[in-house]
Symmetry: C2
Subunit: 323 residues, 2 copies
């Protein structure tokens, strides 16, 4: 029995093929089409699944379903995705489930990209030993999720917006959401880049944009931040320090409300900056805890770049084991 999981991001598509124990049998990763429309993105996803099947020399007879972790607004009943601003011409409501099932001839299951990644960490990754967990994923923005009694708590569908904890109500930095003072305004890559460009335009020195150009990128990707901080670039270090400061406060607040057993740090930027980043966040969180004698474990996400796709694979129900 095999299931396919696809993490559909604005930059990359990651596909993974797993068995019922979530053991990985094949993977494939490609860039997300930046032009065209939803149908082109579906073609690319179908191709990624086929390449991942080929990677493991697997038989289609064993494939029982496809799970997709998608951005935008998902209608689970209708199997549609709309308002996916990071994907080309995808503000429309598009029948993603139907289109993928037509391409791969297996049932398709949809989930929110961040929620499936949090679910993967608690089911298969760093959160496995815990009953309650807070996932904090630093990428372009800061997303996350709350796990209560081993289950992702989604509220009325919108829970987990941890990036929009307000850590500085008065005089806070502008957030890409239009508000000010959100954790994401300090710890989301998009907001960090806006601040860096502003300072750079003012003539403050930094290697960030040289490194970006060297890597042939147009954005300050996670690897750019990593390399600049390794080079002891002052601006990069200052902005990462600011991110840690905001994450410490916001995560501390969330822990004071929820008293979770563990906090798992992931996302593109989180994974790239790795354990030293996690250690700094833990240190910054401690002074905010009202019960510092019993802090939660603060851990790096264990599943790395595959987390989202593995979590998407978990959307596919496995048949009850034959007794």
């Amino acid at each position: 029995m095999l299931r396919a999981g696809v993490d559909l991001g604005g930059t990359k598509i990651q596909a993974v093929i797993t068995d019922e124990h979530s053991k990985v049998w094949g993977t494939y990763r490609c860039f997300t089409p930046q032009e065209g429309g939803p149908a082109d993105v579906c073609d690319a996803m179908a191709d990624a699944v086929k390449q991942a099947m080929a990677d493991g020399a697997l038989s289609y007879d064993d494939l029982i379903g496809l799970g997709i972790g998608a951005p935008g607004q998902i209608d689970l009943d209708a199997g549609t995705v709309s308002n996916a601003g990071n994907l080309p011409n995808w503000m429309v409501t598009y029948p993603l489930s139907r289109e993928m099932t037509a391409r791969l001839r297996v049932p398709t299951y949809l989930g929110n990209d961040v929620q499936v990644a949090v679910n993967a960490e608690v089911s298969l990754g760093a959160g496995r030993p815990y009953n309650s967990m807070l996932g904090v994923f630093c990428g372009t923005g800061v997303g996350g999720g709350v796990v209560i009694n081993k289950e992702l708590w989604i509220g009325r569908g919108a829970a987990g917006e941890i990036g929009h904890i307000c850590v500085q109500t008065k005089g806070g930095a502008p957030c890409t959401c239009g508000r000010t003072g959100c954790m994401e305004a300090y710890a989301g890559r998009a907001a960090m880049e806006i601040q860096a460009r502003e300072w750079f335009a003012e003539g403050r020195p930094t290697e960030l944009f040289d490194i970006m150009a060297d890597k042939g990128r147009e954005r300050l990707a996670s690897g750019v931040w990593y390399k600049a901080s390794k080079h002891k670039d002052k601006m990069a270090k200052k902005l990462i320090k600011r991110a840690v400061w905001a994450l410490g406060s916001g995560i501390g607040s969330a822990v004071n409300i929820l008293d979770v057993e563990a906090v798992v740090i992931g996302g593109g930027l989180g994974l790239r900056l790795g354990q030293p980043f996690v250690d700094k966040i833990e240190k910054a969180m401690m002074p905010h805890l009202i019960k510092p004698a019993k802090p939660p474990a603060v851990l790096l996400a264990e599943l790395g770049d595959l987390g989202g796709a593995l979590g998407a694979g978990l959307l596919v129900p496995t048949p009850a084991a034959a007794s």
Copy 2:
């Protein structure tokens, strides 16, 4: 079948006698002894229960148990309470369950004072129609609780410290917990009083302390804040506005993480300032919501001053109904 519930506060003891449907049959309220020790407090609680029984002309044969909502550190297994700083000479570990059972000859059940009050609101009060709820109780401090799937979520025992969401990480007001920028630093009566005394000492005009003296109080009790704001006292209005500002931000952050269906505002100050206070908090919360199209209901606690005692009564297990 009758059960007794006692809300043990630093200022007052509230007792209530209810039946298995939480219908109220008798109540009694008295001041908490400010001198002596735990045994004197127990005597006062036992007397309050007896007076509440007398209030309803009830028979002791029907009383099946006593629940107490207590401050301090509670050991449920041992039936003890320690570190209750608001009670006279109660930093020791005191066998509260055993002592009350000896006095009233019924089993005694203990619970955290704030948690039982939140539980009362979701079981019997404003939170009844909802599956998920955030309780925010503004009194001396700001306490609260998170209700998920109709159950109070206590984490590893310390969840619900909503007063210590940090709303202003840099340059925040000093909190009575020793940190700065906590919601309680703006919206807890103790912190508000410290700020008012500081401003008054600097010569800023206010009626607050005259009203306090007129009422024969030594502290700025909730009624003092209420009366001063009715008199359009500038300092009182300013500090209440600041409290609303902090509550709007902190509650907004909590809603962004948890997407609860309802927020219930209670506590001594919350109840006294009432619906206009709740309306202002709701208005201050809205700009912080990442999904403003689907805000939670923001409601005044329905059980008023009896909430804590009713919640304490719920700690007493009811015998399975005879079929």
